[in-house]
Point group: C2
Chain length 574, copies 2
Amino acid sequence: MRASNYLFSTLRDAPTDAVVTSHQLMVRAGMIRQISKGLYTWLPTGVKVFRKVESIVRDEMEKAGALEVIMPGVQPAELWQESGRWQKYGPELLRLVDRHGRDYCLGPTHEEVITDLSRNELTSYKQLPATFFQIQTKFRDEVRPRFGVMRSREFSMKDAYSFHVSPESLQETYDVMHQAYCNVFDRIGLDYRPVLADTGSIGGAYSHEFHVLADSGEDDIAFSDASDFAANVELAEAITLKEKADPATQDVTEVFTPDCKTIQKVAEFLTLDVSKTVKTMLVKGVDANENSTIVALVLRGDHTINELKVEKLDGIVSPFEFADEDEILTHIGCAPGSIGPQGLKEKGIRIIADRSAAVMSDFCAGANKDDYHVTGLNWERDCPDFEVADLRNVVEGDPSPDGKGTIVIKRGIEVGHIFQLGQQYAEALNATVLNENGKAQVMHMGCYGIGVSRIVAAAIEQNFDDKGILWPESIAPFDVAIIAMNYDKSDAVRTECDRLYSELKAKGLDVLLDDRKERPGVKFADCELLGIPHRLVVGDKGLANNTLEYKNRTQGENQDINTDNAVDFILSLK
Amino acid sequence: MRASNYLFSTLRDAPTDAVVTSHQLMVRAGMIRQISKGLYTWLPTGVKVFRKVESIVRDEMEKAGALEVIMPGVQPAELWQESGRWQKYGPELLRLVDRHGRDYCLGPTHEEVITDLSRNELTSYKQLPATFFQIQTKFRDEVRPRFGVMRSREFSMKDAYSFHVSPESLQETYDVMHQAYCNVFDRIGLDYRPVLADTGSIGGAYSHEFHVLADSGEDDIAFSDASDFAANVELAEAITLKEKADPATQDVTEVFTPDCKTIQKVAEFLTLDVSKTVKTMLVKGVDANENSTIVALVLRGDHTINELKVEKLDGIVSPFEFADEDEILTHIGCAPGSIGPQGLKEKGIRIIADRSAAVMSDFCAGANKDDYHVTGLNWERDCPDFEVADLRNVVEGDPSPDGKGTIVIKRGIEVGHIFQLGQQYAEALNATVLNENGKAQVMHMGCYGIGVSRIVAAAIEQNFDDKGILWPESIAPFDVAIIAMNYDKSDAVRTECDRLYSELKAKGLDVLLDDRKERPGVKFADCELLGIPHRLVVGDKGLANNTLEYKNRTQGENQDINTDNAVDFILSLK
């Protein structure tokens, strides 16, 4: 591409509504423009990156044996009514009415359409397993679209769906797709983690998210520094290597702790480490007779409660709910900041200690009396009747739950999600095949999504500097830029640039020849902002010695290379 | 692709609502499935063809210097209000409201969005000319979607838009795009014609349609058998090579023609050729003082009136309207079937003769008296005061208006349309650039559309037989099919098929290996229905003599080829 025929649309400043780096840089680098809240036009530089991501995704889907289909963006309400989601799905589902008054929606996802297709086209177990994918524009009417194409209303997704006669077959394809996803992100060249995830609103039994690690990510990912283990912080199991508490060495002592409303204040006041304290929280529960009760949860002072884990325990109300101040006063006789485990059992309150809290000794807790705490508390001696469970979020330094290494926590941007949906949609839409015995059997389904446009933004969040984007080579808009100094005036420069341009193009490289009548500074800045990995500068001065100047976007200094070797040199870097 | 892993979804019968061949064959060949009126899912075989068409279109656009963008499918009402089309566009524009109550539409076309983009990104004449294209899903809420993907509601289009400082620059890009369109259809391998067209509702000054010739086409295309001339029948100029009428040889004779309500009946009754008669029609006009008048149009009996041409004449009411029977009776004193030119002038009626009618002699016409005609009529002698104009549709055998060859008329399917829009949209949206003198100047625009999904259907309409589709090689879903006889049972067959499959794939061919446990008849039928251009049959019988059987889908007989030569043989055909 000759720059004189190209649309740069680079900007010095980002729009004020762009708060994340990728949004700022995508606008500044002339990749996208907003035309309405959450609706973007992709400009040429954006499209070039987008197509490269799309092409890697398509290729890996095909290698994984998935067959490409294209489903309509506009979907009939009937299918969504059949699955039950027409009512359940909130206002993110953009509903519309055609000229004949029939109801449709703009598809945010395609489970209904593919299940309908499959119940018609798949009739025998012999056709299974079958996996279909599409790369398509989706629409989600976000209440607050933000972060550019990271959370836009219209976006491009690769979604795939697999159909099976058994959970075992589903697991096999799930594993193949898991690997295909790893291949996609490996090929693009991103630092990512497949993360065990909650299944959320799509439902189903088992799922992984694929996160690109970046400080700006919206999710906290806990992963091992020594193994493949990775999970959303909310789902990661918190374990402790200590098997039991040390023997008691202190007596219980009641201490006056005035104005200490938080556990940090208490620890400070008593010059204790927070990890030597516990916090006791009362939550609503139900007993064996389905009567409302209060349950005490005890965590180490420096840990935080994980509501998802608590909700899943027997005898706890879901959704999770704290007891209010009145209830605490009635049951315990103090304010929330002074509760402790000692003596609660005698009041008929069930106690559940987090695994880490349960192995503490000589610890500090509330005294169940306003403005008082106790120190030297020990479980076995002072309140032996308690249960143990995983109640908390993991923290960095925790042992990895797979027994290998230590937990590290980083922020991640979700760019992919794979699910074992099971039979939920197939049952709702009665999608059956004849099995080996000639009997109709509901199919098992998997679904697998990748945010194609989101990957573009996530790649930037992970790869940028103060000058602009640092693209992984696989998805850079151009492989190499040739920056011509005085292209219009110098015959030597023009001849050499044209030669390099056509030879590099002939080798299959995506080349930008900057032949514009602009100052060198403008050309360098655009080249850096666009994140083109390799840069050649061609000027009369160098040509006098048969040299060009090479610079890598991410590393190293300028280096002179002989014009005769330039093409081979660039090829050797690829 | 191994057939055992593929989704054929072939059907013996087409659905009853499929009335055109391409719709029938696309459903039968497992290319598409309707999910709601005018909304289709493309199955794997359909997608493969679609992607090949898309890839040729994209490649030719890039070669023509167009830059790819992706504009949103959902467009804000504000832009359409600015262009004035929010009100003007009928119910084919699907309007919708988002969760915040804001108005949007599903884009049937993108003039507004691209003009908005360009007024922001293009600021100087130095950036022009600039051409942008996208390949995108569009939505048109057709009142009666039909013919499968040929007239569906959701469809894929390549649309391009160019921006210029002058009409001359627009003409240059228009010519480049015209050539790019020819390249697309040449590369696909279709019999097509670029056709001078009416500009219709999009507006603008100059336009060409690209038609794929096929009997099932909705448009009549007139083209020369000896030159590039081609035009919609409605727009083709009708000329006559005869410069003036022959001298009169007969006297005017009034003849009784009872019950002859049509010109055919009259000719039959008088044993005359219809081409020796004229028909005279009265239409509404206005005189120089803007008063309503009646105008007589005279055409040769075997010609048909072209309302578009008549409307464009001075003094004729537009839209075109015939005089009603009462008016005819009042002015002429007879019923419509008995009007003739003689004596009309004396009644104050303006007479316009079609060019072909104007050079007739000794002809037959109505006598302006019920049930009577006259024969032996001659213009100069009997009704000399008349005007001459082009009033009629061309017919086969007419001389081509460019003076080269003779008109042939065939039916065409419109698959592309290029327009010189001029300044209409740029003016409405105030899309200006600074010109060489530093003054703001409204840009000139061109727009260029290709129906990507429609090309797939049109290619079938032009290429099929009673067994199925006859794809042009460039867009066939597979280049070659290897049909295995007893793949599961014969080691020799399996080994040879696998060898061929991997060797042909390694040469870059798209290969289908039919390894299914199906009867040979089923495999042959699927292969023919899908229109795979080359077929190799591998069976034990042939392998005993080291031969395979080759068959071309469109021509020739089965032929035996040596297994050792098979790969080279197939490559030699490409």
